[in-house]
């Protein structure tokens, strides 16, 4: 029996499991191979929906489904936290007391937010990286009647690089709709020297922000919050006052990966081969999604494109054959929607070799995103798209 253990029941782990059983079905039915997903809650969460909760366009109940319902019948599901990975015995030690031996290990453990790292974050700042936080931001926006809203980034890397920019534009549109725009200011702090990291996107979105009066502060990486003076301080040494503060919190990889010696502290991101997705040169350990240290967007889309590569790598290793060089080679593909406000959006599609050339924001890509949010459950985890 060859055992494949996949840690994480998000986009990457679920899709990899489902693709793997398709490739290994006959071996699984003959009890020669097993595929097991370990997830800490047993619930699959669609995180891109959180931002929409903050704008009153989504509810938490639509963003969560039992992981079991998304997995092929031939995938085992274990619901438990992971305590550590014992590489010498090739076992995953679970918090429920069980030890899971593996021959192949797939790490799809995502990222975790750590707002507590920044003093006064919880007291002063809002964010939209959990359903609860997004709902609290909605309440704060409802209570907002005018003043200065600041959107900024307090750690690197973070999930969905366009998200804070989208939030700035969506807030501006909302303030206009509520007729409180004139008594309000919207400020967006970019960590780099332009509005957005991708130059073509920045060139497209900067005039939109200027037209809408969203003020851009470049080279502003938040390092401190001063709650008494209601200002944020950047590591570049500048200050910006706020009335309503929205901060992207710091992110890290799963702690047990550091404790197990697979990922370096303090980030906890797995050293991953950019093409094979092998971890640290280990022939039987792979990673995908937010958990890797690849210089790519931490987004479900990245995991979506990486899962077929991991499935091919693992399936071919199980079969004792060389992986298909096309399917088993990740080229850095990512595809993201980008909301620009006023029911318009665009699409960013790129890989290691090709930068994105986003279309002019239009209604098609805004509604495309809303439709995707709904059809996700029937398409992505099952590998239908």
């Amino acid at each position: 029996m060859q055992r494949v253990v996949i840690l994480g029941g998000g986009v990457g782990g679920t899709l990899t499991a489902n693709l793997l059983v398709r490739k290994l079905r006959s071996r699984i039915e003959q009890d020669k191979v097993s595929v097991t997903v370990v997830d800490q809650t047993g619930a699959h969460v669609y995180q891109p929906g959180f931002m929409y909760i903050a704008f009153g366009a989504e509810q938490e109940k639509h963003l969560k489904r039992p992981e079991r319902t998304l997995l092929d019948r031939d995938v085992h599901l274990v619901v438990s936290e992971v305590t550590r990975i014992d590489e010498s015995s090739q076992e995953v030690v679970l918090a429920n007391g069980q030890n899971l031996p593996y021959d192949y290990l797939v790490l799809a453990t995502g990222s975790r937010i750590t707002p507590e790292e920044l003093p006064f974050f919880d007291q002063e700042a809002h964010h939209f990286y959990t359903a609860g936080a997004a709902a609290r931001l909605r309440e704060a926006l409802d209570a907002f009647t005018g003043g200065r809203i600041v959107v900024a980034i307090a750690g690197m890397p973070y999930k969905c690089p366009p998200a804070p920019l989208e939030v700035s534009l969506l807030i501006e549109a909302e303030l206009r709709k509520r007729k409180i725009r004139e008594q309000s200011e919207v400020h967006f702090c970019s960590p780099i020297g332009r509005a957005f990291t991708i130059e073509t996107v920045s060139e497209m979105v900067t005039p939109i922000m200027e037209r809408k009066g969203v003020q851009i502060h470049t080279f502003f990486n938040v390092e401190q919050i001063d709650p008494d003076r209601k200002v944020i301080v950047s590591l570049e040494g500048e200050e910006l006052p706020y009335d309503l503060l929205i901060l992207v919190p710091p992110h890290h990889g799963a702690k047990f990966l550091v404790d197990s010696g697979l990922a370096p502290a303090p980030g906890g991101w797995l050293p991953t081969d950019r093409h094979t997705l092998q971890v640290g040169g280990r022939p039987n350990v792979f990673a995908l999604g937010d958990a890797t240290d690849l210089p790519l967007s931490k987004a479900g889309s990245t995991a979506h494109f990486e899962a077929p590569v991991v499935a091919e790598q693992v399936a071919s290793a199980v079969k004792g054959i060389a992986p298909d060089m096309k399917t088993g080679n990740y080229e850095g593909n990512v595809m993201c929607f980008f909301e620009t406000g006023d029911n318009r959006g665009t699409l960013l599609q790129f890989d290691y070799e090709h930068p994105p050339h986003p279309p002019t924001p239009n209604r098609l890509w805004h509604y495309g995103k809303l439709i995707f949010n709904r059809v996700y459950w029937f398409t992505v985890p099952q590998g239908r798209v």
Binding site: M156, I192, G193
Partner: protein
């Protein structure tokens, strides 16, 4: 700008080749935030814009640009964390 990259000793290399999002500068900022004062970081970039935007940020953030070396199809930009 060109410099010899043999000294000081590079503490960590960040391979951001082919990174359009988040991009080489964001990868460098992440690494600088994780690094200790005195660490020397080397970032690989295939983005021509890095030759301008990385030095600009390094100056603004109070670190030191050690040098930029063009290699086989990419730039190696070396930065020392000063504070």
């Amino acid at each position: 700008m060109t410099a010899t990259l043999t000294t000081p000793v590079v503490t960590r290399t960040i391979d951001a080749r082919g990174s359009f999002c988040p991009g080489p500068l964001m990868e460098l900022i992440r690494a600088i935030r994780e690094a200790a004062v005195g660490d020397v970081l080397e970032v690989y970039s295939t983005d021509a814009g890095s030759r301008n935007d990385i030095p600009k940020w390094v100056e603004k953030a109070g670190h030191r640009l050690v040098g930029i070396e063009t290699r086989d199809g990419f730039d190696a930009i070396v930065v020392e964390k000063l504070r």
